[in-house]
């Protein structure tokens, strides 16, 4: 059964995702709420955990020696602990409930990276339609001529100029976000170097 769930998750099977929500969310909601969190926090943590498992499945074979419920609970527990630590609210973590298993370091690393990606994409999505398309196509190695043709821009040189403007706008926007400064900031930069 756990392997069937993992296989469905790997295939992004909607029914399996529904099953996961229907059957495994409530213990996590209960755990987070009992430990200084809100319903919204529980939803965040649960969603992050599913994403992490999905990414892990894309990289390696995952074989569970426990139930899927225990596995996802363990990940959510770890993520919520980390969240409380970030908020310097470790003392608030008082109540253990549910069975948890030991997890490898990759879970936390993936979560850190996902947090950064979310921040980048949040700001990317705030860019104008043309800016988003220019950056996407440029990074996909679409030729400048083709980008100009698709977006109706006047010249290849202009596309290049716009690409630089859009990228700088994006980088500035990210750097000016409180989340970048407070939550991720300098600490994450040093972690990035290890990549």
């Amino acid at each position: 059964m756990p392997q069937e769930i993992l296989e469905g998750l790997r295939k992004k099977d909607g029914k399996i995702l529904d099953f996961i929500y229907e059957n495994h969310f409530y213990p996590i909601q209960s755990f987070v709420i009992r430990n200084s969190g809100t319903d919204e926090d529980a939803q965040d943590v649960f969603q992050d955990a599913i994403l992490i498992i999905f990414q892990k499945l894309g990289k390696e074979e995952v074989v569970l020696n426990c139930s899927f419920g225990t596995y996802i609970f363990s990940i959510c527990r770890l993520l919520w602990l980390k969240q409380l630590e970030t908020l310097k609210n470790r003392k608030a973590f008082i109540e253990e409930s549910g069975e948890a298993v030991e997890l490898d370091n990759s879970i936390e690393e993936t979560q850190n990276k996902n947090e950064r990606y979310k921040l980048y994409l949040e700001h990317f999505n705030k860019l104008s339609y043309n800016c988003q398309k220019i950056l996407e196509m440029f990074l996909a190695r679409v030729s400048l001529r083709e980008i100009a043709r698709i977006l109706g821009l006047k010249s290849e040189q202009y596309v290049k100029k716009r690409k630089h403007i859009c990228k700088e706008k994006l980088v500035d926007s990210i750097k000016n976000d409180m989340k970048f400064e407070n939550k991720i900031g300098k600490k994450y930069i040093s972690n990035l170097k290890k990549l």
């Binding site: 909607g14 995702l17 929500y21 939803q43 994403l51 990606y117 979310k118 990317f124 996407e136």
Partner: protein, 246 residues
């Protein structure tokens, strides 16, 4: 852009020759701030290109919306009648946003392709079980069918409710799904003219979308200009569309 940032971008874009690459590597080695900037910019590029991450995150966002209190699934467990309109709204927004994305990404795509992508045939022959069914029951039945994408059948129930605003609004969405755009516009215009309900902005927005689906560009431009000039929730999105189709 500073010279340092320019050097980083040139490196990331693969524009540097061997001498430039050497200069970049030396700078990265001796200047920590430069190295930080490089890793940040590189990771931003990676995030933009990570379609798997973006796609699956969107799937999960959608699942979450459906699961939370305003969603059809949880709603079905709890207070179906109190929150049906919100549930269906989240669903219909996904459908229409998907349609819009499709239009904008495939400017030359025909309406047929759009309909083929999003239209799911409803089961025919569904009949209203009782002429005496009250509004509440009809609405419940309509949304049950709506959530199963049985738009033709859902429409039968919505239409039994008459000019009730919520029913009118979702009958408009059903008509979109069925490709009956003129009828959809009629439903939404009724809501806009009523002007004393919660669906006015959404209805105006959908009318613009329908014009796009119908390849009526002039009407679409006029509609989105009207929205962008207003205080509508959709004003910014309307501006984005205008910048593309104008």
């Amino acid at each position: 852009m500073t010279n340092k940032n320019q050097l980083i971008e040139q490196f990331l874009d693969g524009e540097l020759k061997s001498k430039g690459i050497q200069l970049f590597l030396q700078q990265k080695e001796k200047d920590l701030e430069f190295a930080d900037e490089y890793f940040l910019r590189m990771e931003i590029n990676n995030a933009i290109q990570d379609k798997e991450f973006i796609e699956f995150s969107n799937i999960l966002d959608d699942k979450r919306k459906r699961f939370t209190k305003k969603s059809p699934y949880l709603m079905a467990r709890k207070e179906v009648l109190k929150s049906w309109h919100l549930a269906a709204a989240s669903f219909s927004l996904v459908v229409v946003a998907g349609g819009l994305w499709y239009i904008l990404s495939n400017k030359s795509a025909s309406t047929d392709k759009l309909v083929a992508k999003y239209y799911k045939p409803a089961h025919p022959g569904m009949q209203v079980r009782s002429a005496k069914m009250n509004t509440e029951e009809s609405m419940k039945e309509a949304f049950s069918l709506y959530r199963e994408n049985k738009f033709e059948s859902a429409l039968i129930y919505f239409n039994t409710i008459g000019n009730q605003i919520t029913a009118k609004f979702y009958s408009g969405i059903c008509y979109i799904e069925l490709g009956e755009y003129d009828k959809a516009v009629k439903s939404f215009n009724y809501i806009v003219e009523d002007n004393d309900n919660l669906f006015v902005e959404q209805s105006e927005w959908y009318v613009g979308i329908i014009h796009l689906m119908n390849n009526k560009n002039d009407e679409a431009i006029a509609q989105f200009k009207k929205i962008s000039a207003s205080n509508s929730y959709y004003a910014e999105q309307a501006k984005d569309i205008l910048s593309y189709i104008n």
